[in-house]
């Protein structure tokens, strides 16, 4: 996986988030402050713009540039969280990027999200999509399946994880102030994490 692969991943994220912007905002309107879709759409559009203006020359640079933009330009909690995930992932990547290296770096990014947010799976957060995606990816790579198949499994695990947040009680973030009224709604952060993984599975390689 080279620099172009990572650029295509971020381009795919930006497109999917634009397409699903209103859906993410609707999810956030139910249990949050109704800005997740617009915040992320603006943030990822700026990620693409920054990557176009200052072309990166390595996968690590792609991830660090995206991280900087997201931390600075997304006003809500998802900026620091996704920014930290991509920063840690970038730092953990070794060149050339192998499927096993990608999976290990992705896991490092997911762990950093858990540390920053002091969240655990089951708290009804983006971690409920990212953690199963990371596990599925690592397992698929260990089984030696083709990389495309590994990414598809990770994307499915993220999607299932996001939908599995519906019956959960939110323990972190603004939704946690709602207590039991947070039950019955999909977590918007988990939903956007599933889109990030869907974008990974659809990168042409």
């Amino acid at each position: 996986m080279d620099t172009d692969f990572f650029l295509a991943w971020f381009a795919g994220m930006a497109e999917l988030i634009r397409l699903r912007r209103d859906h993410l905002t609707e999810l956030d309107a139910a249990i949050g402050d109704a800005d997740h879709g617009t915040n992320l759409d603006r943030g990822f559009a700026e990620v693409r713009q920054a990557l176009a203006e200052w072309p990166p020359t390595s996968p690590e640079q792609v991830l660090l540039s995206a991280s900087n933009t997201l931390i600075r330009r997304v006003g809500g909690a998802s900026g620091p969280l996704y920014g930290t995930a991509f920063r840690q992932m970038g730092k953990a990547l070794d060149a050339p990027v192998t499927p096993a290296g990608f999976a290990a770096a992705f896991e490092a990014g997911v762990r950093a999200v858990a540390r920053l947010g002091k969240a655990a799976p089951g708290d009804k957060t983006m971690l409920d999509a990212l953690a199963p995606a990371s596990r599925a990816l690592t397992q698929a790579v260990q089984e030696g399946v083709e990389v495309r198949e590994a990414f598809e499994r990770a994307a499915r695990a993220a999607e299932e994880g996001a939908l599995a947040t519906i019956p959960l009680l939110a323990r972190k973030g603004r939704a946690s102030y709602l207590g039991e009224r947070s039950i019955g709604h999909e977590d918007p952060g988990a939903a956007s994490s599933a889109l990030i993984m869907a974008a990974l599975a659809s990168v042409e390689s």
């Binding site: 600075r72 006003g75 909690a77």
Partner: protein, 124 residues
Amino acid sequence: MVGVVLVSHSAGLAEEAVALARGIAGERVPIVAAGGTEDGGLGASVDLIERAVRDADQGDGVVLIPDLGSSVLTARLLEVPGRIVLADVPFVEGAVSAAVASGGGLPLAGVLAAAEEARGHRKL
């Protein structure tokens, strides 16, 4: 003196909390507001917080006091163990305690501990 940075979603809230803490702890305390986004909206800006940390830092360390949500997450990105630390405390009470402790010349660990004591303060 130890610096104190108040990080809020709201610029107005951060600035008024700084004014209150200064009024109680004294004008010399290096306490700085980092509220809202750079375009004046509600939210957290890592650049504004970074600037406030620089303004508050006299070389004795800085305690960051965030209000909630993305203020906490954004402030945590700037933590440097033993130098720039985050206090998990009620915003107003923690700000006043930290400012008084800083004005009293306590070191970083003392200011942090004073701020954290504010969590248990009863009003009645």
